[in-house]
């Protein structure tokens, strides 16, 4: 008997459309859609009985309301008899898409809590959904983009199958991200013996594996408050992709490899004639109609004129934060910070979409 699966997809993979459909609320359709069709083809032991599709923005902006709607949509399926009830929720894969990853995590957690079935999702280890939901939701690690689709579906099928059958799973063996759960096991040697063996291996420069990896928290001390804004120089930075019209530096619409530095001299506000968005991860209509909606130059200039801030730095910095790697974002941030320090900027408003 095939395992009965409910599949969660965003508007893109669910076939509704691109960013222009990202605000659409959840809907339930019978059978498999998009990646679900491939999932069934590659893994005939799974049967997708229904697919929930929801827009990424709808879920990211109103998570509680949207998740509640999804749970209600699924209620009739779980009211069915034992022979028809779904046995597994599969969400994604979300790869490195931040909103989608958070949505997959939220839906998995809610369905597991409400309906008590195993859930599984898949995303790239650097997806923000990982940090938020990995403790509650088993997640298969994926590549950064859709090139890793077959592997991600395979990982979810294998892990999901084991979870449904109640087979014991382990992160290293079953290819999912550690959930920070501890389990008691019998070991042949005591903890003291194992620790000394590890220490000796370390002293000899030999490989060893820790039994309890320390978490890495990359936190930054907050910078001091600005004592007197009316004497401070403020700069604007955005990951929302606002660039001069024509995108002169050809900043990529996704997975940006660069940032731009652009003059604000003589500009009281941005306009559709002067600026546009280069971002490929949201519907550009509103930003292109009025780029101040992403980089609020008009309001900042007003506040500069009233003396609320000392002055605005006449260069702003922009990149596209759309599946951009953490390594690139870090490098952009370091380079921008260096330039801001040279210009004696004390305060930054950084806007993100």
């Amino acid at each position: 008997m095939a395992i009965r699966v409910v599949h969660y997809l965003n508007q893109f993979f669910g076939g509704l459309g691109g960013e222009e459909q990202a605000g659409v609320g959840p809907s339930l359709v019978a059978g498999a859609k998009g990646p679900g069709i491939l999932l069934e083809r590659l893994h005939p032991d799974l049967l997708v009985v229904a697919t929930v599709v929801c827009g990424d923005n709808a879920l990211a902006e109103r998570p509680e309301a949207m998740v509640a709607e999804i749970l209600d949509l699924l209620a009739p399926l779980f009211a069915a008899g034992q022979e028809e009830r779904p046995q597994l929720l599969v969400a994604g894969p979300a790869f490195n898409a931040g909103r989608y990853g958070l949505a997959c995590g939220a839906v998995c957690q809610a369905v597991a809590e409400r309906y008590g079935i195993p859930v599984v999702t898949a995303m790239a280890p650097e997806n923000p959904g990982v940090e938020q939901y990995r403790h509650a939701v088993p997640m298969v690690a994926t590549a950064l983009d859709v090139g890793g689709m077959a592997a991600a579906l395979g990982g979810m099928a294998a892990l999901g199958g084991k979870l449904v059958k109640g087979v014991e799973v382990l992160p290293e063996r079953d290819g999912y991200l550690p959930q920070g759960l501890r389990r008691n096991v019998w070991a042949a040697e005591s903890g003291a013996q194992r620790a000394v063996a590890m220490l000796l291996a370390k002293l000899h420069g030999e490989p060893f594996a820790t039994e309890y990896a320390m978490p890495v928290f990359d936190r930054v001390e907050p910078a001091p408050a600005i004592a007197d804004l009316s004497r401070a120089t403020l700069a604007l930075v955005t990951s929302g992709g606002i660039v001069p019209r024509g995108n002169p530096d050809r900043i990529e619409a996704a997975n940006a490899q660069k940032y731009g530095a652009y003059s604000l001299t003589g500009l009281a506000a941005l306009s559709p004639a002067s600026h546009q968005t280069a971002h490929g991860g949201y519907d550009p209509t509103y930003a292109n109609d009025d780029p101040n909606r992403v980089l609020p130059l008009d309001a900042v200039r007003e506040l500069e004129a009233t003396g609320r801030i000392g002055r605005l730095h006449e260069t702003y910095f922009a990149t596209v934060g759309n599946a951009t790697s953490v390594a690139n974002a870090r490098r952009f941030g370091q380079e921008i910070a260096h330039r801001l320090l040279s210009a004696r900027v004390q305060a930054v408003i950084l806007t993100s979409t």
């Binding site: 990202a22 923005n57 990211a60 902006e61 931040g98 909103r99 958070l102 923000p128 938020q132 990359d218 936190r219 930054v220 907050p222 910078a223 001091p224 408050a225 600005i226 004592a227 804004l229 403020l234 930075v237 990951s239 929302g240 949201y282 519907d283 550009p284 209509t285 509103y286 930003a287 009025d290 101040n292 909606r293 992403v294 980089l295 609020p296 008009d298 309001a299 900042v300 007003e302 506040l303 609320r308 801030i309 934060g321 974002a329 870090r330 952009f332 941030g333 921008i336 910070a337 260096h338 801001l340 320090l341 004390q346 305060a347 930054v348 408003i349 950084l350 806007t351 993100s352 979409t353």
Partner: protein, 76 residues
């Protein structure tokens, strides 16, 4: 980017629509904005109302920059 700017000693406020992402990444001063495609605006409003809304959000961002914080704080 927020963290690297702050690491350099520059006071920074992150204005964004999806606060959980900002919290996960590790921004310290966070101001929630309107929506992903229009963080500092609302096309459903009149031009004047939208300007007022944008001004209010920027004021809030300035308030955050002027407020001492010991860790992550959301200014909503």
């Amino acid at each position: 980017m927020v963290k690297e700017i702050e690491r350099a000693g520059i006071t920074v406020v992150h204005c964004c629509s999806i606060v959980p992402i900002s919290l996960t990444v590790g921004a310290n001063r966070i101001v929630p904005t309107v929506a992903i495609p229009h963080p500092f605006g609302d096309p459903a409003k009149t031009v004047a109302e939208e300007r007022a809304l944008r001004r209010q959000l920027v004021e809030r961002a300035l308030q955050a920059l002027a407020t001492p914080v010991s860790g992550q704080q959301v200014f909503s």
